[in-house]
């Protein structure tokens, strides 16, 4: 069981959260201008890094707010949580 630090509620068990996949995937400016392949890329293709991954979570059984987290896909350790809409923080600059 992961303990996830909600930016609003503090540490809560993983069962209170929903997972929203990769963060910072922008909706296309004009979906009609895309080819089927580009649309499929937007809908279905996501990064699969070994290491830090920026992803969306929602505290569905608590404050019901969406937020972003950077999680290490090897260790499951969450290095940082930050507000939805905020740019991805640069972890190399320290906490």
């Amino acid at each position: 069981m992961l303990i996830i630090d909600c930016p609003h509620c503090g540490p809560r068990p993983e069962t209170e959260f929903g997972y929203g996949g990769q963060a910072h995937v922008a909706y296309p400016e004009d979906p009609h201008a895309l080819t089927d392949e580009q649309w499929a890329q937007y809908l279905f293709y996501r990064d699969n890094p070994k290491g830090d991954y920026a992803e969306r979570w929602v505290h569905s059984a608590g404050c019901r707010k969406w937020f972003n987290a950077i999680r290490d896909t090897r260790t499951y350790e969450i290095a940082r949580v930050y507000a939805a809409g905020e740019p991805r923080p640069d972890l190399s600059k320290g906490a």
Binding site: H8, C9, T15, E16, A61, G62, C63, R64
Partner: protein, 235 residues
């Protein structure tokens, strides 16, 4: 075809029924009788479980329903004009962070619970005790917000309130609640939205040995039986 007119009789001894025949204020007393009758006919989500709760309670821990509390959801950006207006209209302010309860932290009176950074739950006693209906509460708060950004909704029927009390009440909750309920982390006057096993509830500590568990109406039977099951080894 059946008669679709709903007729509600005033129960014996209901407020407003003492006027008798020939009362001088017939229309007002009629309205009082009507409202009292409506209140007397309400059914709470755990009403049918009252006997089970009594039988399942003991010296160490006991469970009962506190039915029909007035509950009003408030949406307002913190520090915005609507927050200020709501805080003023409530008279007890708004809580500012997770866990915080503004006003009557013991639940006796008007309390405001923090649900989210921009969402709060005002809880007030049953209309049968105060004479102030949930609609009147919501109306007053809605007037305070006015045209400002925000939302006020009467959600009194959304959740009911269960009260779990006694020296082993915390032990019962700790079986199913993963957050830390120790007084060090969860002192009297703390309330959070969380899970009780897999059911979303509000857990509110109103006293050293008194807890409120507020499940949604349709989950109430399940939560009551779940708590009773957890109480068995102590009763």
């Amino acid at each position: 075809m059946t008669d679709s007119t709903l007729t509600i009789e005033a129960p014996e001894g209901a407020a407003g029924s003492a006027g008798g025949a020939g009362g001088t204020n017939a229309s007002a007393s009629g309205a009082d009788v009507g409202r009292a009758a409506v209140l007397a006919h309400r059914r709470s989500p755990a009403q049918d479980l009252a006997d089970e709760m009594t039988q399942g309670s003991g010296q160490a821990v006991w469970l009962r329903e506190l039915p029909f509390l007035t509950q009003v959801t408030l949406r307002a950006q913190p520090d915005g004009p609507s927050s200020e207006a709501l805080a003023g209209a409530l008279g007890v302010g708004l809580p500012t962070r997770v866990g915080e309860v503004a006003g009557a932290i013991d639940g006796i009176g008007v309390a405001v619970l923090w649900l989210s950074p921009d969402e709060f739950l005002a809880v007030a006693p049953d209309e049968a005790q105060t004479g102030v209906s949930p609609e009147a509460w919501a109306g007053r708060l809605s007037t305070a917000v006015g045209a400002g950004p925000g939302q006020v909704v009467d959600v009194s029927a959304n959740r009911t309130t269960l009260e779990l009390s006694g020296p082993r009440a915390r032990s019962v909750l700790e079986k199913s609640c993963e957050i830390d309920l120790h007084p060090r982390a969860f002192p009297v006057g703390t309330a959070v939205v969380t899970l009780l096993e897999s059911t979303g509830v509000i857990v509110w500590r109103t006293g050293e040995e008194t807890w409120r568990v507020m499940p949604r109406a349709s989950f109430t039977t399940h939560v009551v039986r779940w708590l009773l099951d957890g109480m068995r080894e102590y009763c």
